[in-house]
Subunit: 315 residues, 2 copies
């Protein structure tokens, strides 16, 4: 049993959301808050789309599309197919149900609601008791610096299918973005931070680098779960990016990246059992445990192991 009872989980896309689901099974709404990346947000077809918030929302509501690995369960595609037939932009595959979420959020934002307030309304309507908090209500937009020039993240990720070689990232708006006050308040007496297995460059960095987050979490045990297992990303372009950035695509390189980029942030690191052989090389306390989450039991087991690790680190 774990003692830590007020946890902040940092999540990006689909991979992070899996661990988030496990944590939500272990911890109640007063014990767990999610800090979510907004760097992938963009405006498309006039709608405000928040891919990472939505991935987490669908996962927590049990409405994630397990066949596709992204998007909403029970989805249909009449809107986007028809839009394409009428000459409209159809590269971003918006499902009919997914559209409704983007429309609802966009209209709330147009009516003056903050992204936080819109997210709260939507998550509550979907039966989620835990608080899903955008890292900031101010716009942060991840730009991928690539062989095809600067690309908005979703243009790189979806339209270009991660094909262009990457040499860097920029987070437009980051220096002006205020840390979400709900997060700042929660961190004041938070027992631990868990960085879920999300892409360190494009999912985690825009969260960690928001002004005030590192300071607010300086005295809180923080662990990160490697999104790289056995030299490959479980999902998404993390491993490909690491190679293009001249880093080995290994869990060790992820840990070294965190240590170098954010000295003192991490108290511990979690790698998959398959990477056990390299564990002595890690520059910080590290545990190896099954970290490839297929079933709900996998998610809960990893969450439980992370909670225990935080307790161990807290002494």
């Amino acid at each position: 049993m774990s003692r830590a009872r007020k946890i902040l989980a940092v999540t990006g896309g689909v991979g992070g959301a899996k661990l988030a689901v496990g944590l939500a099974q272990l911890l109640g709404p007063d014990e767990l808050m999610f800090a979510v990346n907004v760097g992938d947000d963009f405006t498309h077809l006039g709608l405000h789309i928040s891919p990472d918030i939505d991935s987490l929302t669908y996962a927590l509501a049990g409405q994630n599309n397990q066949e596709l690995g992204w998007g909403r369960a029970g989805e249909t595609w009449q809107f986007i197919e028809t839009l394409g037939s009428l000459g409209g932009d159809d590269w971003f595959r918006l499902g009919d149900k997914d559209m409704a979420l983007h429309m609802r959020r966009s209209l709330m934002l147009q009516d003056g609601a903050s992204l936080s307030a819109a997210t709260q309304e939507i998550t509550q309507r979907m039966g989620i008791a835990h608080r899903v908090i955008p890292i900031s209500d101010d716009p942060i937009r991840t730009v991928v610096q690539s062989a095809k020039g600067d690309l908005m993240f979703q243009h790189y990720f979806v339209r270009e299918r991660c094909a262009p070689s990457v040499h860097g990232f920029r987070f437009d708006g980051l220096s002006d973005a205020a840390l979400n006050p709900a997060l700042a308040a929660y961190l004041a007496d938070c027992d631990g931070v868990i960085i879920c297995p999300s892409n360190p460059f494009v999912s985690v960095a825009p969260v960690i680098e928001v002004a005030g987050l590192l300071q607010a979490s300086a005295h809180i045990p923080c662990i990160a779960v490697s999104p790289i297992v056995a030299g490959a990303a479980i999902k998404g372009p993390a491993a490909k990016m690491m190679q293009e950035l001249n880093m080995p695509a290994t869990a060790l390189a992820v840990a070294e990246h965190y240590e170098k980029s954010y000295p003192g942030l991490l108290s511990g690191f979690v790698i998959d059992a398959s990477d056990q052989a390299s564990i002595e090389q890690f520059p910080l306390p590290t545990i190896a445990t099954p970290a490839v989450m297929v079933s709900l039991e996998d998610r809960i087991a990893l969450a439980s192991r992370c909670m225990a690790f935080l307790d161990e680190l807290a002494g």
Copy 2:
């Protein structure tokens, strides 16, 4: 065989679109143009919706929903059902495919296209060769003056299901709206105008009353087809409105309304065969012919009879 070979058809909603389909079977794209009401247009969920243009577009493309009597064929409702579940406005039943059309149009308008240009793009994409022309590219908005106060037309028609008693209509923007130049040019050598069986108060009036239309069509034979058959509207609130406006809900009262409101506009009037007994009372040349259109053959037969009537009137 008819001689008239350049026809303008004035259409409103679903009823008018039926005759339009018949006319389009008889006349080629250079021989037939549609002038369509935009008074029902409104902005909903941030989208520009043009119900009458869309009813005509779907009908001409063979994509009208025959089960519902409105909307697009093969429609699904995932978007609007999900929007409702998220607390959004779901009284206007936007189908998933229908949404795509509104989105496409809205984005073109936002990019600076005129409603005419957007309509042309969409109708061509849907395989329609005939020109569908909004009566004006300027906004005209029908307001229903009712027992529940002033209501935007779609609020009256869809949200309130035509329940509030009506005592008048207002067409906001009408006095500033310019007749579509494509219509003005077409009328210069047009052989005949057919007012399809649409609601005279809310579908036809906003078209006829646009500045310049009556003058441009003054010397052109013009006939109207009654939307009232045997004392009832085939579809929609026309008969209910007539009662509330203290007019008998008869084809004769429709003809008298046109004669009184637009003296000299009509050269002839078309009623259903079931109203034959009253034909001597009509204040203008009138024919009785089957005007309830169920099959495509019905649509073609009525269109053919209208064409012949125009020829007779032209002498």
